[in-house]
Every structure is written in C-alpha cells, then in structure tokens.
Amino acid sequence: MLTPGTRVNRLLRFGGLGVALAALLITGVVAVGALVAGGYDPGVALGALVRGAVGSPEQFFSVTLVRSVPLILTGLAVALAFRAGVWNIGAEGQLYAGAMAGVWIGLAAGDLPGWIVVPLVLVVASTAGAVWALVPTLMRLRLGVGEVITTILMNFVAIHLVGYMVHGPLQESRGVFPQTDALAAAARLPALIPGTRLHVGFAVAVLLGVALWLVLRGTVFGFRLRAVGQSPAAARITGRIDGKRVILVTFLASGALAGLAGAMEVSGRTFALYEGLSPGWGYTAIAVALLAGLHPMGVVAVGIMFGALEGGAGAMQREAGIPAAWVSGIEALVILAVLAAGQGRKWLVQTRLERGRPAEASVG
C-alpha cells in the first residue's frame, strides 16, 4: 500500500539519485548540442570523455579516482556543515591552509620514517583547516556574523597567504621559483594500488565518508547535528540541544576535512606547494554535496562521478582537440543542470506537499 505520505518520502529519498540522473541527461543533451554547434564531432568528443574517465583500469585508478579525492573530502566538509545549517563556503581556503601546513610539516619532518611523517602531515593539515574555520566559527557564535561572507573572505586570505609563502618563507631553497621544495619520499602518501598513481588518500576519503554516514545516522551527536540543521528552534526548545556547541564541533570538523583534502593533494599528487594548487575544489564541493543530497555516501559517489568528468575532460582536450574553455563550459553546464534539477525536485516535493496536506488530514 502506497499512501501519499510514503510516496513523498520515497520521492525525497530517491530524489537525490533522480536529480543526479536528470542532471546527467540534461548535461548530455546540452553538451552534444554545444559540440555540434562548435563544429566538433560529438561522438569523438564524448568517446574521449568516456575513455579518459573509465576507458582502462589505469585511467580509472590513476585519473578518475585520484581526481575524486579532493572532491570527496571537500564535498564531505560541505555536506557535513550544511547538514548542521552551517553555510561553510570556505572549503577552498581551508584546503589551502591544510596544504600549507601539510607541506610545512612534511618538509620539516621529512627525515623521520614514513609511518610517522605521513600521519603527522595529515593531522597537522587537518588541524590547520580547522583553525582556518575557527575564525568564521567564532565570528558567528560570538558576534553573530554570518559565515557565508566570512568563509569567502577567509578563502581570499588563504589564497594570498599561499602566494606569500611560496615567494617567501616556504620558497624552494634555491630561491628561484615560487614553489616549495619537493617533499621527501617519506612524507609522500604511499600508493594504494602499486603501479598506479592512486594513493591511500582515496581509501581515507571513502572511509571518512562511511564514518560520517554512521555518525549522522546512528549517534546521538549526529542526530543532534541534523536537528540543529533542520530546525534550530525545535532543537533548542524541544531537544534541549546546545546548538552553539554542535555548530562549533561541526564547523571545525568541516574545516578539518577540507584541510585534509589539501594535505592529500600536496602529499599524494604534487609533492610541493604551488599557487593555484586548487582549481576551485572548495566551490565545486558545494555542487558535489548538493547533488549528493548532503549524504556522505552520496558525496563519495558524486565525487567519483565528478572525478570521472574532469578526467574525461582532459582526454577531450588531448584526443578530440576541444579547447579547455569549452570543456570548462561543459563542466559548468553540469553544475547548472544540478541546480536546475535540484530546483525541479524542490518544486516536485512542494507540489506534493500542497496536494498532500489535505490528504493527510483524511489519513488521520
């Protein structure tokens, strides 16, 4: 028996996947249209896209999954924060803070054995990300300043601080190029699958996704976090929940996840800090988190999907000669399609809501 109530629930529950598929479909149609209009062969281009993403185990592990790591981690950071009603738009800055701190400790402690240095890099980078989130957290909790604006401003501070660091205190020892020295082998993340570039960061990201899912689902803290995010007044008045404490913990955890993403990049991929390390993962993360319906396991899945899309985008440039601007445009279309599909889902639910209310009166 399907009552209207469960029908709406099912809609809400599977809405996330429906949105993802709808977004893919819309994007596919628009992308093909754009390619044809630009005079490119869509078959060749999309073939390259698919091959670049999942065309071989090598592509899948070394490209798609490697690219998904920062997207999953920042996506988890955003999803966790949004779940608690914390609008952390600052994953980008927190990522850079983690990258800076991770490189610094990795260079300073590079002589120690790997089983000490690597965890040290990850812990210090997470801490730095949390510290970077601490400023907006305190401004919200103590001064009531909205975190949307403060986290964005902290992004700018972090980006410029990276610029200063690679021209100044952290610049390579020869003092020529604006980058740090390369991390010693001990400070680099070990490979997850030997012979590929896939590093253990991917396993860490997936495990964190599972852990967050379990925390949100089963624990008292996770439940309180969701209550605070859904309805701060009901959480405070009925749930007797200390909302400020929940926000503090969540915000810092979100910053730590984003900081960890920065460490994974410098310690797992680039082995040095550069300006422009991130192409905006902290912002793409918002799309990842929303497309995943803020569900941690959804974030893992969507992060891999976005990793595939970006990996495939590189192949589109190389094999099909599509200019980077077109490829970026197609990626932007995906995000737009996500937003449109998300709005469509909201509309769908609202329509059901309006039609559902009187029905529920009769159900009762």
Binding site: G16, A272, H295, A301, G311, Q317, G321, P323
Partner: protein, 348 residues
C-alpha cells in the same frame, strides 16, 4: 535535505551507472596513432592559448611544427599542478615523442615523467631542472631588454625611467636588471624605478602602478607583464593626452602595433620560432642534454624599433643598437644574467 536511509542502494545504483559507462567506453575504440605523421608533439599550458601573449606564442609554435614537419599535434590546458602528472603520463604513454611544457611550474612533474618515460623528450619553457630527456628552454629576453634599456637611456629627457613588472620571479627580474644595465651604459646617472603588481593579467593594477610612476617624473615606461600591459599603455596614453612627452615600450612579443603612437619599440621573444628550432634540433638528433638558451644568436630574442616611431631615434642611436646587438651575438658585450638551471640527474 532528506536523509536517504538506503544509501547502499544509492551507491549500488551509481556503481551500475559506472558499469554502463565502462561498457560504452569499450564500444568506442581509442583513435589509433596518426599513421601518416612522422612523430607526435604535445603542448601543455596552464593558461588559455587565446591570451595573445605567452601561451598564444606556444600554440602558434605547435601549429608551425605541424606545418613544417607534418607532426601530429595535441594540446591540453591544465588547471592545477595536480593535473601535471596525469597529462604527462597520458601523452607519454600514448606515444608522444616531444612534449612542450610551457612554464616553469611543470618542471618537477617533468622530471618525474622523464624518469618514467626515457623515450619521451620534454621541453620545459623557463624551467630550471635538467635531465637527459628533460630540457629547459630559456628565452634570453634580457638581451632584448638590454637593448631596450640603451634606447630608453638615450631617449629620456627627465633622466627617470620606469618598469612595471608582473610577478617577481627570476626570469622577469633578469629582464629588468638588463634593462637598467643597458640604460646606465649610455647614461650612468639615469634613475630607474620598478613596481611589481603581483599579477601578469591585472590591467587595473598595472595602470595604477604606471600612473604612480609617471607622477614621479618617469618619461619612458617599460613593462614585463602579459595582458596587464594594456593598463601601462593606457596610463601613458592619458598622460600624453595631458600634454606630457612620455613613451612606452613593449615586451615579450612585438607590441609596436598595439599603440603605434606611443610605443617606441618592443623587446621580443620569438616563441614559435624557438619551438620550431628546438624541434629541428631534436629531429636531427642534435638536441643537447642540457638547457637550451634561445637568444639573439638565433634571432629568437631581439629589440624591435617601432617603424612608426623611428623618427624619434637618432642615426647614432640606431647605429649603437645595431653595434650592441652584434656584440651580444659575438659575446663581446657583457650583460647581467641570472643562472637558475640545475642538473637534476647530477644532483641525485
């Protein structure tokens, strides 16, 4: 947002989607190597090749290589250092013979890729690390800017000349050191003012810096930026509109026709010709396992007098410029240079 209580289902569905994609991909075969082409050449840039400057020159070079050698070419714009390894691997593993990585930022990844793919040759523009198959391509722009300095030192009336720089990295600083040395070689008491704006493309910042310098009595302004140079030219144009007798000079590419009424000349690097030259050496097996310096000798660097403003130059000055150019080629004129190339394999 709703809590999906069946996320396992969700993951399973996404995984199924992945399988479909994998199936699709196996259906379309990768393009075979271009059988007709003698070899394959790739270019990596970290900026758009539509910039009418540094990256555009590289892309033009790539196309000239296709035209002159019949090579199969490909280009990828990378957005982040994290993509470098992936791009090198993708090109090297699909059989590309020569990869131009157009910027110092590629040097570490190039060394890693070079070690993994000894058969592939990687050229790193303005790079600082050398391996047997990883070759820095150094454009000696300081030679052109030394000549520009001679012209500026001779033509200034106030005795103050200025420079607006993008990002203060050694290759850029080197061009300004040479400019200053050139100016002082003809007028030892000349005053030289420098401002770095911290960006290659920020037109507004460049214009503000130029206006400030012009206010301090500068009457000839040179720059070393990319798109930001338009800000410098605009500041000079407005000062000339106010009746001041001030001039600008171009850098990197021949900008004489950008604003013929106010540009005295340009210190240029000929990136496309440099790429073709490198490819020729590689093709003939003559490419040495060390940094390649592209300078006046091969006419890859020069100072180009603006034909529309040649009247500003005295015949004596034109003669001096020609004489110095020859001197640089023959090694008789000493100009300041920065040495930043190290041998990675030797260091290991």
């Amino acid at each position: 947002m709703a809590v999906a209580s069946e996320p396992v289902d969700f993951v399973r569905r996404v995984a199924r989607l992945g399988l479909w994609l994998a199936f699709l991909s196996s259906a379309c075969q990768p393009p075979g190597e271009d059988a007709g082409a003698p070899f394959q050449v790739a270019l990596l840039t970290s900026g758009p090749v539509s910039d009418a400057g540094w990256y555009a020159g590289a892309y033009e070079g790539l196309q000239m290589i296709a035209d002159s050698f019949g090579a199969h070419i490909s280009h990828q714009q990378t957005r982040t250092p994290a993509e470098f390894d992936e791009a090198f691997f993708a090109y090297a593993s699909s059989g590309y013979d020569l990869i131009f990585a157009h910027g110092f930022e590629y040097q570490d990844a190039a060394i890693r890729a070079g070690a993994e793919f000894p058969e592939t040759t990687i050229i790193v523009s303005a790079g600082g690390r050398v391996a047997h198959n990883v070759i820095p391509l150094i454009f000696q722009l300081e030679e052109g800017s030394y000549l520009a300095g001679i012209a500026a030192g001779s033509l200034t009336k106030t005795g103050v000349i200025g420079m607006v720089g993008g990002v203060a990295i050694p290759p850029a600083e080197g061009t300004f050191d040479a400019f200053e040395a050139g100016a002082k070689s003809v007028r030892p008491d000349v005053e030289v003012l420098v401002t770095w704006i911290g960006s290659w493309n920020d037109v507004t910042a460049a214009k503000e810096a130029a206006v400030a310098l012009l206010r301090r009595d500068v009457d000839i302004l040179i720059h070393n930026t990319d798109a930001a140079s338009f800000g410098v030219f605009q500041a000079v144009r407005e000062a000339r509109g106010d009746g001041r007798d001030v001039w600008a000079m171009g850098m990197n590419r021949d900008q004489n026709d950008v604003a013929p009424e106010l540009i005295l000349g340009s210190a240029v690097i000929r990136i496309p010709e440099g790429f073709v030259e490198i490819t020729r050496l590689w093709y003939d097996g003559d490419l040495p396992g060390e940094a390649y310096y592209a300078g006046s000798k091969a006419s890859l660097v020069d100072y180009v007098v603006n034909p529309a403003r040649v009247a500003e130059y005295t015949p004596e000055l034109l003669a001096l410029l020609e004489e110095t150019r020859t001197g640089i080629r023959e090694g008789t004129v000493d100009i300041p240079r920065i040495q930043f190339v190290s041998d990675e394999e030797a260091n290991r």
